[in-house]
Symmetry: C2
Subunit: 385 residues, 2 copies
């Protein structure tokens, strides 16, 4: 069997020819090297993951299910969403194979090459890549302005927003900003795509009411994930959409993978119905708050003269702006060679700058000792440069 290794690039689709390898995916193999101290991924702490006892799955888990997901799980998800302030019914829920899938489905639903969509600056890298793959032309949401900065230009079709503990910056939008965004999207009929994977991980009081709950006429998709509040290996998330969009999204979900694993669906349902769930979540949040505070103290010790940052109110990341402007992708290569990994800032920009001097540090995965050692190493590296 002889396989050509050249020429294939000319035969693939236009959108694949423009594809850049995902920096997130590349990192997963790097951070799995033994001995690597990693602040790179968005991995939950191993000790926060649930320990499942022996599981007895009901027989129906083995058979085909419906694209939208199992009815009892959809109902439980809708109930939890209503409790967090989003009026919805089970019929508006589509279970996803992780919330990354929701990004793919929404991109399929709205994007043609050249479709204008709004994103935050910076925004989640793996979402930007999918939007780019489907040909999005980007504009930026400025949540401090009533017109969101769109001025008199044609409104974008879609706005991708992460109001709670944004990846990468950790920013949580204020109540006033949420209201302003909802009003602007209603006025301009911009469909809101609100991504909320860190909802459960709030370390202090802050308004987490979905922007989608405040819309009066615009269409919307709100999505959540069980990767951060439960376990990423289950690969389970969900979207909830305005009634005009649900049938489209269910159809696209069916075309993507028929439906999500019924084992994962059943396990998540058991967890949602577990009376100990609030207690379990509170313990995870307490644990992550301590890790955040420990990390903040280490940053204070090592980085005070090197960078600026804010304490994130929730989520998994610190976002550092270095005092010395540099290409953090180049910095990463040096750091990895010394055994410490982080996520460079440039890929989080829709149009990546030559150098942004910013980097994302995950504080949940590394142990206290690893954090101390890794941050000291990183500070030394920056001082040497």
């Amino acid at each position: 069997m002889n396989t050509p290794t050249s020429g294939v690039h000319a035969r693939v689709s236009q959108r694949v020819r423009q594809l850049h390898p995902s920096p997130v995916r590349e990192l997963i193999s790097v951070i799995q090297r033994p001995g690597m101290i990693s602040f790179a991924g968005g991995l939950p702490a191993a000790e926060s993951l649930p320990v499942l006892g022996p599981v007895e799955f009901p027989a129906w888990c083995m058979q085909y299910g419906t694209a939208e997901g199992d009815p009892a799980l959809r109902a439980a998800i809708a109930e939890e969403a209503r409790a967090s302030g989003l009026p919805c019914s089970a019929e508006q829920v589509v279970v996803l194979s992780g919330s990354q899938q929701g990004i793919d489905l929404v991109a399929k639903l709205f994007l043609d090459p050249g479709t204008c969509m709004a994103v935050e600056r910076p925004s989640y890298v793996a979402a930007l890549q999918v939007f780019q793959f489907f040909g999005a032309r980007f504009c930026h949401v400025d949540s401090t302005r009533p017109d969101l900065g769109f001025g008199n230009e044609a409104a974008p079709v879609l706005a991708y927003l992460t109001p709670n503990f944004r990846n990468p910056t950790g920013t949580c939008l204020t109540t006033a900003e949420r209201a302003q965004i909802a009003a602007a999207c209603d006025a301009r009929r911009i469909t809101v795509f609100e991504d909320d994977p860190y909802h459960a991980l709030a370390y202090q009081d802050c308004d987490r009411t979905p922007i989608c709950a405040q819309l009066r006429s615009a269409s919307w998709i709100y999505q959540g994930s069980f990767s951060k509040s439960l376990a990423p290996g289950l690969r389970l998330g969900y979207l909830i959409a305005s009634p005009d969009l649900v049938a489209y999204l269910a159809e696209l979900k069916g075309g993507a993978d028929l439906h999500s694993s019924r084992l994962s669906q059943w396990l998540v349902l058991q967890q949602l119905q577990d009376p100990l769930r609030p207690q379990r979540l509170a313990a995870v949040v307490d644990h992550y708050r301590q890790k955040r505070d420990h990390f903040a103290a280490l940053l204070d010790r090592h980085f005070r003269d090197l960078a600026e940052w804010e304490i994130p109110q929730g989520g998994l990341f610190f976002w550092l702006t270095l005092r010395r402007h540099c290409d953090t992708r180049a910095l990463l290569r040096t750091a990895v060679a010394r055994g410490v990994a982080f996520m460079p800032g440039e890929p989080f920009y829709a149009e990546p700058p030559d150098a942004c001097g910013q980097l994302r540090l995950n504080f949940t995965h590394a142990s206290a000792e690893q954090a101390a050692q890794g941050l000291a190493m990183l500070a030394t590296l920056l001082r040497e440069a």
Copy 2:
């Protein structure tokens, strides 16, 4: 909260505007009605699904994994593929969330609006829909001709082939046809996309060697599924690709859902390593052979003057050509009202004819009694028409 129900169609992407609701997905809700006798879906018999004892998952199942899939599972899949005649390494394997996902990924990889691809006539409806969604222009593979019927026209970029027990017709290609297709695709540099979900379900001796194994220069993707040989609820399948395509497909897999459920991956690995697996598969095949023969006897009794068919050598379906030409979609509506469902033939054609007078009958899901009752009802209905 007030949601618009009109106007959304004008705001969705071009490809979604051309989307037709999936007849397969619509049927799933119909066949789940209590009391319905269904020959419609491709559902395994409930009694053929594995009964899992209490399962203890390793802790790492809960954490993020790599897009390509867990290494031990990729190795086991490659080993099984080599045993069925396809030379490959674990590095060429990408684990999928069911083989429907492979169709989505391959479509993303190769199709721009207007890209010419070859399909069988008829072909798998849920694949045709995804290809159409990504803008494919279809031509047809004629496996009886050395040039596959392409003549002097520009060769298609991609050929989607299901040599083993094709859905819907049940056809199994001969050794000579496989060689002829491989030679033609090599000569014209047509990438082969070989879909083989029914590989394990062979009820008599027949050549099932992958066409991909016989290619000398063309690129290829071979894909398989654990939905038919194990359990669809796990939503696990895989693709194996020529080395020039693997990195692209892994990247697209990551963009689609990061990776597949690690619980499902681990369960499938346990099954692949189970020394009782060959015995279990042999029992399923024996059971399905009996169901096929029972079904064939019932067809002989009720349909001899109504239709023509062949006995499928494997897979899940009989394909009936009615002596009276009619639109079987209209026939289905009447049949469902009486409590029996089948899959109409028209949607299996890339350009659906007004009426094809053909229908697909699944023989694995209904019980012997249901098959007897349902086929008698269907024959009565046809006689009345």
